[in-house]
Symmetry: C2
Subunit: 233 residues, 2 copies
DNA sequence: GCAATGTATTTCGTATACAAAGTGAGGAAA
DNA sequence: TTTCCTCACTTTGTATACGAAATACATTGC
């Protein structure tokens, strides 16, 4: 499924196998928005800290107009907060914020699980299971970053299979805000093992197309994530 | 709970009962964003139609900079779509879009119902019931617009009582996109009566603090809404 | 007469300049 | 010494100007 709205954050490549594809035009403010988003996620811009317009503009080598438009996009996405006449700050998530996001995300994933079981084709389910197996491999090898990325892909794919665009968008939005936090969640080996065990249960439910069970596991999975990260928020 | 982000759509007044509140500064682009949002919701800007930058700028008497920043905010909210170098169009909702939004909204409201039953104080519930009774009054008097507004307030309040900020934000976002559509939903007297009956059930469940029942009714309510509006999308 | 290409005109994207608001340091008065 | 005010400086907000891209139209060739 192609992302027609260049304003949203997406990491899919611009090329699809087989045949010419429209050249993706990226306006400057889109590029800037993506760049700043990454800077925030990767921690170069610390939560709560003011965003130095002048400084960043020089570093990114763009003028103020596209930069400010990008900031407003990120503000609408909830990643930064713009205080009129006082500059923008990277939004700092309180534990409450994180909990509320996980609570909603858990509930959305529950819906995703249920709908996917109802609507996805056998091939799609098989493909999803393949992803899961890859994840197990990576866990065995203790390749944490790769595992993490595949994990994101797994959840995104699950949302896609529901065919529900809104669900995907909301999930993406929350994921983007939580990205840094979730990465922390798997720091400890114990936590990681627990997460893998939960994923195994998901895969089981998925292969049985047991939507209710899948939904329950996914919701539980995210509430456990809370337990894992709450001390580091 | 105050809305600290002036970029988001909110209809609450700037003053809360009891005590001084920070004066809300509104930058020009915020005002413009709000204005355009209203224009879209009220139908002055038709879905699918191109937004005439030059024309609107003249009418609103603002320059391009705040206008374009406002557009990007609305794009991030999903109300308009910006096609690079080709102008912005008011997002046109396909029946699929509407269905997917209602599906997600239904699921979110289900969560809201459950959490409210678990977390709200008795006073809060009583206040919510009062809203409900007012709605019944307005239905008797066939005051459709007032009923509609109170209905929105009821659902917003319910989300507030969960104490979950993210849930509120997501609900607001979807509500904003659906605003026009939902208004249509009550056109026919039969439909309206059905909606009122469903609300009565909600109130019942709420007064019993039966979260599961409330959640079920709310989810059903929105799926019924789909039945009511699907032909007019 | 139709299609294709070149050109004019409009619209969009970005940079920059100017105005307004905020911030902080230093000094004067209590 | 402390507090409050003032003034200079920094940063933000808005307007405008210019270059680039897209669209519409006319002209030319078949």
């Amino acid at each position: 499924m192609r992302n027609l709205n260049p304003g949203r954050s997406m990491e899919n490549p611009g090329v699809v196998a087989g045949g010419p594809v429209a050249i993706r035009k990226q306006t400057l403010h889109d590029q800037v928005a993506n760049r700043i988003r990454d800077l925030i996620i990767e921690g170069y811009l610390e939560p709560g800290s003011r965003i130095d317009e002048t400084g960043l503009i020089e570093q990114l080598e763009v003028s103020r107009t596209p930069f400010r438009e990008a900031l407003r996009t990120l503000a609408a996405e909830g990643l930064v907060i713009i205080r009129p006449s006082k500059g923008a700050v990277v939004r700092k998530l309180t534990p409450q914020d994180v909990f509320s996001m996980l609570e909603v995300l858990a509930h959305l994933e529950k819906l995703a699980g249920k709908l996917t079981c109802e609507r996805a084709s056998d091939d799609d389910i098989t493909a999803l299971m393949a992803l899961h197996n890859e994840m197990l491999d990576l866990y065995e090898k203790r390749e944490r970053l790769a595992y993490y990325k595949l994990n994101q892909a797994f959840h995104s794919r699950l949302a896609e299979l529901t065919g529900n665009e809104t669900l995907q968008e909301m999930q993406r939005n929350i994921q983007a805000r939580l990205k840094r936090i979730r990465f922390i969640g798997n720091r400890s080996p114990d936590y990681w093992a627990a997460a893998v065990a939960e994923h195994e249960q998901m895969a089981q439910a998925l292969s049985r197309r047991d939507g209710d069970a899948l939904g329950e596991v996914m919701a539980r999975h995210l509430m456990n994530t809370w337990e894992r990260v709450k001390d580091s928020v």
